[in-house]
């Protein structure tokens, strides 16, 4: 069984063509701008949106532990008191207003691939299925089986990963992966650790390994002004990537702050990035550096 955060149909940003993307739960990175903080833990997560609450009090009467509190300031929830009764579903099912939702659903590989294949008529030759996360390689056994089933059905497969894992995990899925989408967040190990919580040597090693294996890759660089979007970082990225023969394309995009609602729903505080300045200019400047440093070898692509 695998734990899946979400299935997104008509996905246009996760590889070529029209795709369906399965977002798997669990991640070993803690990127400070992460858009999917609900995927970090390898377990189902309660998300609470107090602004949707209509004050019906059904959850209050259900919860023996007092996790729900109603006061003059509205409905509050204390996650430390929640013991996840009914697999978290008790509150969710009781709530008419969808103020509480649970993130994470278990699938067998067969069930998941059945869902992913539903839109195959739209995929044509280049579209298909993408597995993303979280860190998708955290569930490498499940992922490998899903990929195998996809290939048995003739579906094009992408794996979207930060590749910050042991190489053997990558090798386990490579056989059934047509294209890797690999995030490259920083070249400097210390900076990578500052931004993502872990250093990056395995990412670098794995990108090199995929290149040696002849596996096509699209590299994705999230730009954070003043952090990785510096001349020295971008030059280092370009120098590294130009030496990897199977990098077909490099996508460059600014980190945006779209996930603030999710952080709040998880009882967390999200950080804000790239609030100041022109993000289009950020992209253009970065592209110029990458282009120059790679002598035009890299196929650079703007995502906005």
């Amino acid at each position: 069984m695998g734990l899946v955060m979400n299935i997104q149909r008509f996905s246009l940003h996760d590889g070529p063509g029209v795709r369906t993307t399965a977002f798997l739960m669990g991640c070993n990175l803690r990127c400070r701008w992460c858009h999917n903080p609900e995927s970090w833990l390898m377990k189902r997560r309660m998300m609470f949106y107090p602004n949707k609450c209509i004050g019906c009090g059904r959850c209050l009467s259900l919860c023996a532990r007092g996790a729900h509190v109603f006061s003059e300031s509205g409905h509050g929830m204390d996650p430390s008191r929640c013991i996840g009764c009914g697999g978290l579903d008790a509150c969710v099912q009781a709530c008419p207003a969808e103020a509480m939702t649970v993130c994470g659903k278990e699938y067998t590989p067969e069930e998941l691939v059945r869902q992913l294949a539903k839109d195959r008529i739209f995929y044509e030759e280049d579209g298909g299925v993408t597995f993303s996360g979280g860190e998708v390689l955290g569930q490498d056994t499940f992922l490998r089986e899903c990929l195998r089933l996809c290939k048995a059905q003739g579906l094009h497969t992408c794996v979207d990963t930060a590749a910050c894992v042991d190489s053997e995990k990558l090798l386990r899925v490579a056989e059934y992966t047509d294209l890797f989408l690999v995030d490259l967040k920083a070249m400097d190990p210390a900076l990578h650790e500052k931004l993502c919580g872990v250093e990056n040597s395995r990412t670098i090693e794995n990108i090199r390994l995929l290149g040696e294996m002849g596996k096509p890759m699209w590299i994705r660089i999230p730009l954070v002004r003043g952090e990785n979007a510096t001349e020295s970082e971008l030059r280092a990225m370009a120098q590294f990537l130009r030496g990897v023969p199977t990098v077909e394309r490099v996508d460059v995009f600014p980190v945006l702050n779209h996930a603030q609602d999710k952080y709040r729903a998880l009882g967390m505080q999200g950080e804000l990035f790239n609030e100041e300045g022109d993000n289009q200019e950020l992209i253009e400047t970065s592209i110029r550096i990458l282009e120059k440093e790679s002598d035009g070898v890299l196929n650079l692509n703007r995502l906005m």
């Binding site: 149909r9 008509f10 209509i54 008419p96 539903k118 839109d119 008529i121 739209f122 579209g127």
Partner: protein, 676 residues
Amino acid sequence: MNVQMSVQEIRSSILEDIEGREIFIPESGFLAGPIYPVRAMVEAGIWRKQNYGWDNSHFPLNYKLLMQEGVPGIIRRASAPRDGLSEAQQEYRALIADSWRAIGEYILRHAEKAEALALERPEDAARLNRIALNCRTLASRAPDTFEQGVQLFWFIWRLRSTYTSCIGRMDVHLRELYERNVPARISRDEALCILCELWERLNETYSGDTLMNLMVGGVDENGEDVSCDLSNLIMEATMRVAKSEPHINVRIHPNSKPEFLDTAVRMIAMGQGQGVAYYDDNIIPALVNRGIPLEMARIYANDGCTEITFDSHSAIWFWQMESVKSLELALFRGKENPSTPFRPYNKWANFGRTEVYKTRLTLGHDSGDFAKMTTFEQVYEAFLDQYGYQIDRYMDQMAEHIRDNEETDKYCTSPIAAGLNEHALDTGSDPIRDGWEVKNYQMLSGSIPTLADCLHAIREGVFEKKLCTMAELIHALSVDFEGYEALRLELKKLPKFGNDEDSVDLLAAELAEFFCSRVEAYPAPCGIRPLPGIYNIDFNMFSGSVGATPDGRKGGDLICEHYSPTPGNAKNGPTAVIQSAAKANLKRGCASSPLYLVLPRGMGAVDVDMIRRMVMSCGKLGLPIVSISIYDKAVLEDALVHPEKHEDLVVRVWGFNARFIDLDDGLKRHVMNRML
């Protein structure tokens, strides 16, 4: 317009009307003939009813015949001696001939005025003399040039109706003139400019629910592809002008030429809803199956909205059933929900008369006491009893109208429309009774997806999850969910059509099948078999007069259009919507069963190739008609606040494109909420 007039009344009215019409020579360009802008006339209160007899303007006239014969040719045919005609037939032919003589003289007066102006303004004489030559030619014979053909179309199209009217297969009608002239006498660019001038003129006439539907591509009566360079040019003119008129519709089939498809997809990717796709493989066999001769089925076009007509060979009459209201009448035992809000509406535009819609369903039919029903099967059966009853009553109305048309002379067709009907020209028979090769009557019932959402909510909410009893549900509906907000939200949470969920999608498919079967089973009035369609143009009117519904919708809130999801309910993206729709046999609703998709502009990779895939996949999945629009929601929101900044923002509504800022408030909400 169902204008009941005698031949004598029409004669005096039309001759006087054409005689008194303004002669208009433009200050620039070449198209002579006045515009009569509809909105200005409505707002100034000088709307003039056109008393030419019956013509609802919803169907294309035989403009190909017009191009071949010219005005003099029409007059000659209507005047040629014929033996064995009754006095009434002779009188009707004379009316046609005299009306078209008046048209010829009207055109000639334009030539004379242009010539006089040329003498007054030597600096503009070349242009004015060109107009004069065009008009003089058209008054004396069939058009020689593409420009004259377009001029003739404009004269007749504008004379046909004080309002506006359907255009039909322009690439078929004008192809011969185009190919005779381009590039031998004028360049392709010049031809494009001619079309663009016509497009501008159409937009000056009116914008929105104008009936100005034009179809390109498809096959001829022998099944051969008709798309040509003119088809592409028509689409290019639409992209260049980038306004709401005319509304372009594109017929697609396996042998459509690549350049035709490429141009069509580029036009659709503009996002204005231009280029509604009609799939020949999913439409023609279904029409044949319903008794339409193959040759006629092959030459279909759409009418002033999205319904099927048979280009140049049929008129159209259609009735719209209210499916969601049928459920309301069932639940309230033949009465309306007491909390029905009766929200005022304008049919589509934000100007003109505001009205409150009153249901045209038959009140008083009791299908049982739903409050006491204990299984979904009982509810469903009782609902079908009410729905079937209401369909039959609508069919009764249609049957009565068919008998009026077939067996009486209550309606007399306008001589302008009859002049482009060969049978009427030659025999003097009114086309209503004996002239259109296809008697095109249609019974339509849209909003079935909202109906399915409601019935599924009863099945799962009441009988499976036991959120409430039937009695409690009906009471909650009767008070518009006041005091039942938690129940309302629970009902809204249940699966809804448009998310590729079999539970509700298959129910919708079953309801669509029921409707089509019921229409088909009705004894054919006068031997005429009406076409069923899963379609409604009046969903905005209907929604304002439907009370709260079991899907958690409050009274007056939006219901869906055609076979599309209820606005706001589709959460899984466009492919899921398409898959939901494809579970129904929409081909059977051969009068028109469209799916409307609205994509957000901000999704990034929506490009021409993506649109191509979507368009082609819909056809493969068996959908007959699909409209794809792409909007930027932020722009629509800004247009609500600052309409003056968004005068060029064009959106698709039902069978037409319109400027967003002109729409009725209910339709603005509808357009915004159906975005996926």
